[in-house]
């Protein structure tokens, strides 16, 4: 069952096309990673999913219901944090959760509020006003607000912003638990691509408002494919030699060197070819993380 169905979605701000003909589906129970550089249209898309921004074209269905016509009904089943954890400085953490629990139109017990605070590690600070919180604590509270009414779909826009490494790991585990143990659908965007790589089962990459890649994380990170980062003393010379070889396909030059996309079993042959061609090699590095894939694919656009 599709929880999110986006078809040909677009948004213009004057002459700027922030999102262009974007289509994707998110299935129930999966963690869907939403990747893109700053200004790529991620947050605009998320805001359209939450009815904060009206699309210029296309359609959005959540839980098989058209969003615009069923907005309030759908909102009961969605929890979200959007970019920054903006909260009321004069309210305590507990008051925030009580307030948003009340807004959810559901009966939420004190125990559930306490459990949610514990889930994000804020139990001991529940009576403190938010203006005494660090950015990381505000982020945790933002996540608690998204979770307090036990939503079916959780949309987390940059949830690890401001968190320390332990906090990032905690949120990663939380996202995994929400999907695996509670069967929630999670759409998560982050600039920390390695985080997405570890939690998402599906990934969508957008660049300049357009979809550039989408698929299961395992497929995008095909173990049989690799990206080789080569740094030489004379990149131009190296490029001209490699460019006429059988490795000429999927070669790209960037400021920090040359990138090649090849099958993993061809790596030794490539190395031998470079050495044999007397190319003064400074570095020959295998890269296969999503971050490299992301950088490569967005740079190629």
């Amino acid at each position: 069952m599709s929880v999110i169905k986006v078809h040909e979605l677009s948004k213009n701000f004057g002459s700027l096309q922030a999102v262009s003909a974007l289509s994707f589906e998110v299935q129930a129970g999966e963690v869907f990673g939403f990747l893109g550089q700053n200004g790529s249209g991620k947050s605009t898309t998320i805001r359209m999913l939450l009815s904060l921004i009206y699309p210029s074209g296309g359609s959005i269905e959540l839980f098989d219901l058209p969003l615009q016509a069923n907005r309030n009904q759908i909102a009961e089943r969605v929890g979200a944090i959007i970019e920054r954890p903006d909260l009321y400085p004069y309210l305590t953490a507990k008051e925030h959760l009580q307030l948003f629990a009340k807004l959810s139109k559901q009966k939420i017990s004190k125990e559930q509020i306490a459990k949610t605070l514990e889930q994000v590690g804020l139990s001991l600070r529940s009576a403190d006003k938010v203006n005494t919180f660090s950015l990381g604590m505000k982020q945790r509270l933002g996540i608690a607000i998204a979770l307090v009414h036990n939503p079916d779909l959780i949309i987390l826009d940059e949830p690890t912003n401001g968190l320390d490494p332990q906090g990032i790991a905690d949120i990663r585990h939380l996202i995994q638990d929400l999907a695996k143990q509670e069967g929630k659908t999670v759409l998560v965007s982050s600039h920390l691509l390695s985080e997405i790589e570890q939690v998402a089962s599906q990934i969508l990459i957008i660049h300049q408002g357009k979809k550039v890649a989408m698929g299961p994380t395992q497929t995008l990170l095909d173990p049989n494919k690799a990206i080789i980062h080569i740094v030489t003393q004379h990149d131009e010379q190296a490029l001209s030699i490699i460019g006429i070889s059988k490795y000429a396909q999927n070669i790209m030059q960037r400021k920090d060197g040359i990138y090649l996309s090849i099958a993993t079993n061809e790596i030794p042959a490539l190395h031998q070819f470079i050495v044999a061609a007397n190319i003064p090699l400074l570095s020959f590095e295998l890269k296969r993380s999503l971050e490299d894939y992301f950088l490569q694919i967005t740079s190629m656009q």
């Binding site: 701000f13 805001r47 939450l50 009815s51 904060l52 921004i53 009206y54 907005r71 309030n72 009904q73 909102a75 009961e76 969605v78 979200a80 959007i82 920054r84 903006d86 909260l87 009321y88 400085p89 004069y90 309210l91 008051e95 307030l99 948003f100 009340k102 807004l103 959810s104 139109k105 607000i145």
Partner: protein, 291 residues
Amino acid sequence: MWPIIQIETFKIFKRPRTYIAFGAIAALILVIQMGLKIDGESYAAFLMKDINNTLIVDGKVLNGYLICYILLQLLLVHVPLLVALIAADMISGEANLGTLRLLLTTPYSRTQWVLAKFIAASIYTILLLIWLAFLALFLSMWIFGTDDLFLMKSNYVVLIEGQDVFWRYVGAFVFASFSLLTVTALGFLMSSLANNSIGPIVATISAIVFFTILSTLNIPLFSAIKPYLFTTHMNNWKEFFDIKVTDSNEAITGSILNVAKIKNSIIVLVVHIILFVSASVWIVRKKDILS
């Protein structure tokens, strides 16, 4: 919609800024009352100096009713500024804080949010007015006692019997609530147009000052629009203290000289409230939330 009205009211009264207006009103009223308690007789003599030769006034001129009238004349001009502090911040303040987007992802429509916020701001306004009434009327009555109300208008004097005064204040405060709710609605409209707190507050105060000047200027060019300006009508609570007289110039107890003027003013103010709030709803419904 009740839960969001409750939440919005709760949020207003959780903010320290809310109490500035209550504190300012209390401080002003208490200072004036203290001054009049200490040096009231000379103030009353000053008021009466022009008519002492023509009228013999028996009883206590400087009583709680007159003090209240003096206070209302002074304060009802400034209370709109205090109302603007909160009303003009209701939407823009949340946009500035970034919490507006959190609210608008909840299962309530934008129209419901705008109306709930306006109702909450109106509750604040009414409570401020009740606070003003408590201090200006009841506290003055307690400190200075009651007697007939003796008012000096520009070219005539009004004497209202003591037992005929209290209901007029009730009417005046009800009327003032319409005036202040118009300011609330105006502040609210300004708030829907901006994403920061200061701009709408300044814009609301500027609009009140601008239209008040237009309302008071006796320039024929502006005469045609004056009857439609809310500022022309805001001070018409004073009409409750103009009474009808018999042919022998005796006051008719329980009467108001110009009821139609009061009704007309209330209609103009209510129309302004409806227009300002409807415009706010329309703007917020159309708006992309980018803050």
